[in-house]
């Protein structure tokens, strides 16, 4: 009889896996107290430096392709997300596949850089960096790879470039700024002039990193704590904790945004949507996307909650390229780079277009 009364009570109280719990809280403690993980482990060499921008060269393990890849990253974040961790690094993956990789790190603009606009970034930084990369690699052509806003910048540059760009790869790229994922009344307010940021930019010079972060939060999720509960739920897995810490470090590591560039982005691209209309002027040239004749590869993420598919797709009809491909992959905005999946997708398309040695 005694046995019969004990068993149901025992079944009602769930057992704890003490080892798992020990690991969980140990890893949580580590995540909160240990120094931040080291990023950017792939061997690289500095090719050129101007102001705060640096052009890095990542040599291939064993060169298989003649045409190098030139990465242009967004102005909002730091580009080390492309080399975030061993084995899942996009750059490491591509160098292992036999590509020579160049990366233009825009750097963090200071107060003295408040006058740097998109035209300066493109004409005086990106163009020079591409020239340097071409000379450094000793080839006649290059493949431009733009990620997020870096894709927009790469596309604008490709439309006015005199340099020999053979391939243009853009991922999670905003081209058409009409669709907007954030609150529609905000977009309407900015377009109709109810929000004027000119005075704010003039006073601040650059947009501080905290405000850049706040802007993204406001668009997506103003209150965001589920990442911490997610960490708690999966903290027993040290691999997840490591990945979480890297992602968390990168998300919080914002850079200031140069004032003039922000003004152009908000006014000429977001408000007036000049890139799609072919009315954007860079330097003294019209940045019309129909000038692009390079082979084009566009990648969108189906779970991207920052740049919509409708924002990227219009580039397909706007360029003059004969060889153009559009793919949608099962990924989010950052996940494509964080998982290293981007390297495989780039290789699948670029391998036949990079002059195999």
């Amino acid at each position: 009889m005694a046995m019969a009364t004990e068993t149901p009570i025992k079944n009602l109280i769930p057992e704890s896996d003490y080892e798992k719990e020990a690991n969980r809280w140990n890893n949580v403690l580590k995540a909160l107290t240990e120094p931040e993980p080291k990023m950017g482990h792939t061997p690289r060499a500095e090719v050129w430096r101007k102001n705060k921008s640096v052009l890095w060269h990542y040599p291939s393990k064993q060169r298989k392709y003649e045409i190098p890849l030139f990465f242009v990253y967004s102005l909002f974040n730091k580009p080390y997300i492309l080399d975030v961790a061993p084995k899942t690094s996009v750059i490491e993956g591509l160098t292992n596949m036999g590509y020579e990789v160049y990366l233009l790190d825009w750097g963090a603009p200071g107060y003295e850089d408040k006058k740097i606009g998109l035209d300066t970034y493109i004409d005086k930084y990106l163009r020079t960096a591409v020239k340097r990369a071409i000379r450094h690699s000793g080839v006649n052509e290059i493949t431009l790879v733009g990620y997020c806003l870096g894709g927009t910048i790469a596309s604008i540059y490709a439309s006015i470039a005199d340099e020999p760009i053979k391939n243009l790869i853009v991922a999670t790229v905003p081209i058409d700024f009409q669709p907007f994922i954030g609150p529609d009344k905000w977009a309407e307010g900015l377009r109709q002039g109810d929000i004027n940021i000119d005075h704010f930019i003039d006073v601040y010079g650059n947009i501080p990193p905290k405000m850049v972060e706040g802007m993204f939060r406001a668009i997506g999720a103003p209150v965001y704590f589920s990442n911490y509960t997610m960490l708690l739920a999966r903290a027993h897995d040290h691999r997840y904790v490591d990945k979480w810490r890297r992602m968390n470090k990168w998300t919080l590591d914002q850079v200031p945004f140069a004032g003039e560039a922000y003004r152009q982005l908000a006014t000429e691209l977001f408000k007036e949507n000049k890139l799609v209309k072919g009315e954007l002027i860079i330097g003294n040239k019209k940045a019309d996307l129909k000038n692009i004749e390079a082979n084009l590869f566009v990648i969108s993420g189906s779970r991207d909650n920052l740049v919509l598919e409708e924002q990227s797709k219009p580039i397909m009809d706007l360029v003059s390229s004969e060889d153009k491909t559009y793919v949608v992959v099962e990924s989010g905005h950052v996940g494509l780079a964080l998982s290293g999946l981007f390297a495989k997708i780039v290789d699948q398309w670029a391998s036949s277009r990079s002059n195999q040695l």
Binding site: Y111, E188, G189, D194, V223, M230
Partner: protein, 188 residues
């Protein structure tokens, strides 16, 4: 199967947190997604900007009186450095162009040298052939002289043949005259 289940409330907690987060964000969205909020934000930003502007102007005025450099002064100096960087960059590009033209010129010179070498080789060949031709010419001359000599000899032989023919004619003439002289004598 139920014996293997362990106590793990964290997954449920995470799911709940996602739900709360979504509810809070949806509430914020509804609260802020209207024209009034947008106008209020703009007014707030404008007020904040004006306040900061005044603060900055006062700072500049004070720093000017105290003869202290401000962030604007540092900016001007930094811009000069960037300008210098750009000039060095332009010079570097010009040096590249010069290097390229020197390279292409030296390549041209190399090709000219190659062509010259070929010409020298050809000239030497021609010279050798000329010497040969001269020698052959001399041989031809001597052959010509010998031929002339032979011709002369042949001429001489021709003359001798003529003379021989004449003699032959004379001899045959003498033979035909002799019987006539003998017959006249016996009739007397």
């Amino acid at each position: 199967m139920s014996d293997n289940k362990t106590y793990d409330p964290y997954e449920s907690f995470h799911k709940l947190s996602l739900l709360w987060e979504k509810q809070i964000n949806d509430f914020i969205f509804l609260w802020t997604n209207n024209k009034e909020f947008v106008k209020m934000t703009n007014a707030g930003t404008e007020f904040h900007s004006r306040y900061l502007e005044t603060l900055k102007k006062n700072q500049e005025a004070l720093a000017s009186v105290l003869n202290l450099p401000t962030k604007s002064d540092v900016t001007n100096v930094a811009n000069l450095t960037i300008q210098t960087e750009e000039k060095i960059e332009a010079l570097e590009e010009q040096i590249w162009e010069l290097q390229d033209s020197v390279k292409s010129q030296s390549k041209e010179i190399e090709s000219v040298v190659e062509v010259s070498k070929e010409i020298i080789k050809l000239t030497k060949q021609l010279k050798t052939e000329l010497v040969k031709t001269k020698k052959e010419l001399a041989d031809t001359k001597s052959l010509h002289a010998e031929l002339q000599e032979m011709k002369f000899e042949l001429l001489k032989l021709n003359n001798f043949k003529d003379e021989f023919d004449d003699l032959k004619g004379l001899i045959s003439k003498e033979r035909t005259v002799e019987p006539v002289l003998t017959g006249t004598g016996s009739a007397k």
